[in-house]
Symmetry: D2
Subunit: 137 residues, 4 copies
Amino acid sequence: MSSPHELRIRVRYSETDQMGVVHHASYLIYLEEGRTELMRSLGVEYEEVERSGFAMGVRKLDVRYRGSARYGDEILCRTRITQLRGASIRYGYEIVRAGTEELLLTGSVETVSLELETMRPAPLPQGIRDAIAAAID
Amino acid sequence: MSSPHELRIRVRYSETDQMGVVHHASYLIYLEEGRTELMRSLGVEYEEVERSGFAMGVRKLDVRYRGSARYGDEILCRTRITQLRGASIRYGYEIVRAGTEELLLTGSVETVSLELETMRPAPLPQGIRDAIAAAID
Amino acid sequence: MSSPHELRIRVRYSETDQMGVVHHASYLIYLEEGRTELMRSLGVEYEEVERSGFAMGVRKLDVRYRGSARYGDEILCRTRITQLRGASIRYGYEIVRAGTEELLLTGSVETVSLELETMRPAPLPQGIRDAIAAAID
Amino acid sequence: MSSPHELRIRVRYSETDQMGVVHHASYLIYLEEGRTELMRSLGVEYEEVERSGFAMGVRKLDVRYRGSARYGDEILCRTRITQLRGASIRYGYEIVRAGTEELLLTGSVETVSLELETMRPAPLPQGIRDAIAAAID
């Protein structure tokens, strides 16, 4: 298994809640940034995807919270592409605290490519598919 | 001076931060809902504004925080239109805690109407202007 | 099966993204409000839970997006408690568009009660457990 | 006038709205990160401030939007401390698009230091005040 893409993120104050830890919904933003940056590392800029008439909508989330990030922490979001099938891409995730490697989250997210005009599922252009296929574990 | 539009909002958990109170940026969402609902009460639905090719962008914020809302609180967002000039609308605000009337925020927001295609300032359609003009203090 | 708790929510402008629909992370806020209001309907106010030294952390998300809510839509978040076991509560969800009943999301969320001081799992006080147990399907 | 602290930020997808640009409330998060990182550069970590029993609440916002950031843009948030008086600190801001230097926002934010236990204004500890005083323009 090749190594995952790794994105370092500093937790923002606004991402915490009154429990004193990062709010659970804030992690979805980290996951989104993780796949965006993985794509960018493959030469696929998401802003280009939309300009070419497509969008990647989230279809499925499966997330397990295993620890709590706190304000000021640096975390590492590790993203892999685990499946590419028709219009859908599945990403596998792990978030750890930088330094200690304490596990904070594991999970997967499935996106589906949509034609922006109709919002109906449609396979991505071949060039993008090829770039992604090359990165699948 | 006529009475302002009043919107009752229940503070959401995700709107708090680790200080134990509502994060200062969350109030901007309340102000946005306040002017949206004021407009709706005048027969102007913002989704219609965008469908007719316009947007209302925020150009200027002037906010003074005077107290802290907490999770579970119900607050009242009171919105007035204080000026309509060319493409710009100015809203005056007051947010208080429901029941006690404790003052939490005062301020003003200025929006400018934009042609969606070019994102350049452009006066709103006359029908919308008329509805707004009738509500100015 | 008893009927679920139903919470009516108006989509806010800030909850959309440039795809023109509600951002996928915004739905987690709706789900959180759904379980908060279900609890409130059982006489359990979450602010009381925290004042008594406990928190309910999210441990597991399993969400399937089936449609897209848009700005201005009213949606119904239907929440059931499907399991209470030790310190954990599982909620089952369905979000539909009000009026048309178009299905937008199905899923489940599992929370775990934590002692606020230590952030370790701990069973909820018996009074709260009893209120919840009475509502399980 | 000394040069401001500069923080480079990549716009996140979730920070946009259906107008296709960054939502106006998202900029407040950038401003917050700007002053946090300026403080960090002065040897003051905000997490330490809270651990020593203080918080910095926002008391006043004065923001003028002058352009629109878009998804994928890199922006530069430039932050100065313009005043330190009793418990209050005033920050002056400028946000520009990286590369083109197109001006997107100017403004100021005033924070007040609060004793966390009582949430009442209280001067910051002398060590922190000294670090800040040394950075005032």
